[in-house]
């Protein structure tokens, strides 16, 4: 998966999150947790857009399928309000994977 494909995938996830956020009471705890995660994922995506990536490293090739796999899990819950707790857990895993992607890039730049 290329860097641009990761950015596009995160965009689709952010759109899914928005649809869920817009279906919840804006003062509910779940909505606030989703708002928070959305902001964080969006900021990380912005970071990804400005970093130059070496897409052929083994670590990069290991993490990007992981992001794709997490998205597969996410699609099983994000369209259903009753599964919001599950969605929040999966989004936290997504954040960790994206953080890892940014970290290996930052290390490679040093």
């Amino acid at each position: 998966m290329t860097k641009v494909a990761v950015i596009e995938l995160l965009g689709k996830i952010l759109s899914n999150i928005d649809e869920l956020r817009g279906s919840l009471d804006s003062n509910s705890a779940e909505r606030k947790a989703l708002d928070d995660l959305r902001d964080k994922i969006s900021k990380r995506r912005e970071t990804l857009t400005i970093i130059f990536f070496q897409e052929n490293t083994s670590v990069y090739k290991k993490i990007t399928p992981e992001i794709s796999k997490i998205n597969g899990t996410l699609q099983g819950s994000i369209h259903e309000i009753e599964k919001t707790a599950e969605t929040l857990k999966t989004l936290a895993q997504l954040m960790t994977a994206v953080d890892e992607l940014i970290k290996i890039t930052a290390e490679a730049l040093v």
């Binding site: 952010l14 928005d18 912005e46 857009t49 400005i50």
Partner: protein
């Protein structure tokens, strides 16, 4: 905005004209196909130009809406920090799009030209322009310019090879060489521009996706505050407009245009390398028709999007 609309209208008219152009000779089919490549490329590039031009505005608007939502003060330094492209980086990308347009125009000029010297001068100017872009990237690449700069370098060096054939008026040979010499570099350049534009589009899509939630919240808050019917209606209208705009934006994904352009460019290269049998020409003409069809859809979607915004 009026200039953009008029430009889009011209491009749509040109697409209709070239798609209806019919000829009996293979030369005419070939020239028409090259014209289709040039015109459809211009549509894709024009669409891209609008996304790139607005990328900083989208980022600024997103920062301001974030501040409003979180009830935070707005600071100009942070606002400008939020912009992903410096004015130099933006100019460089727009100049590259201009050069991609020029490449298509020169191929058509070459296919139909009675004045090869002028076309040769055009290719030399294009080479010089791409070299300048390359030099600018080397001078100050910035983080986001690194991948971009790797693609521009080779493109600037490809056009010298066609000069001799042009001087001898071997137009088909010169055209084949121009296409073949540029097959890798031009493809890389299209891919690099596609990636940049796709990222700009993703940012814009994200902004309007988030806005949907903001508009839903505004309606629901008005409802909770027991606002009158006129206020609720106004909020509902805002929401409807926001949702329509978001849907229109989804239909105007620039990736599809660039992918169609890549397929068309591959067909162009394949034809240049072929023995020019009638079936080669038929396959080439078919590929250009497909590209024109994609470009028409894009032009229509972008036109709809612009109508909604105004």
């Amino acid at each position: 905005m009026a200039r953009f609309k008029s430009g889009m209208l011209s491009l749509i008219c040109a697409l209709v004209l070239v798609s209806g152009f019919s000829g009996c000779a293979s030369t005419r089919t070939y020239k028409t196909s090259i014209l289709k490549f040039q015109t459809a490329s211009a549509v894709v590039i024009d669409n891209s130009r609008s996304y790139l031009s607005e990328v900083n505005k989208t980022a600024r608007d997103a920062y301001i809406e974030d501040c409003v939502r979180n009830r935070e003060s707005i600071r100009l330094d942070k606002l400008y920090d939020a912009q992903p492209l410096s004015s130099e980086a933006l100019s460089l990308r727009l100049a590259t799009l201009d050069d991609l347009t020029r490449y298509g125009e020169l191929l058509y000029d070459l296919a139909s030209s009675n004045a090869p010297e002028e076309v040769q001068a055009g290719f030399q100017e294009l080479g010089a322009s791409l070299k300048k872009i390359n030099d600018d990237v080397i001078k100050d690449p910035g983080e986001s310019g690194k991948g971009f700069g790797q693609c521009i370098g080779p493109v600037s060096e490809i056009f010298g090879v066609i000069a001799k054939d042009l001087m001898e008026r071997k137009i088909q040979a010169a055209l084949d060489k121009a296409v073949e010499a540029g097959k890798g570099p031009v493809l890389q350049l299209i891919v690099a521009m596609r990636d940049d534009v796709v990222v700009a589009y993703a940012q814009k899509q994200d902004f309007y996706s988030q806005r949907r939630v903001l508009l839903v919240d505004q309606y629901n808050e008005a409802l909770k505050k027991n606002e009158g019917e006129s206020v609720l209606k106004a909020k509902a209208e805002n929401l409807k407009a926001g949702l329509t705009l978001y849907e229109a934006l989804l239909s105007a994904d620039p990736r599809e245009g660039f992918d169609a352009m890549i397929r068309a460019h591959e067909a162009l290269v394949k034809y240049a390398q072929s023995s020019k049998q009638p079936e080669d020409l038929a396959a080439f003409a078919e590929a250009m028709d497909d590209f024109v069809s994609s470009a028409k859809i894009i032009a229509g979607a972008v036109s709809e999007l612009k109508k909604i915004k105004t």
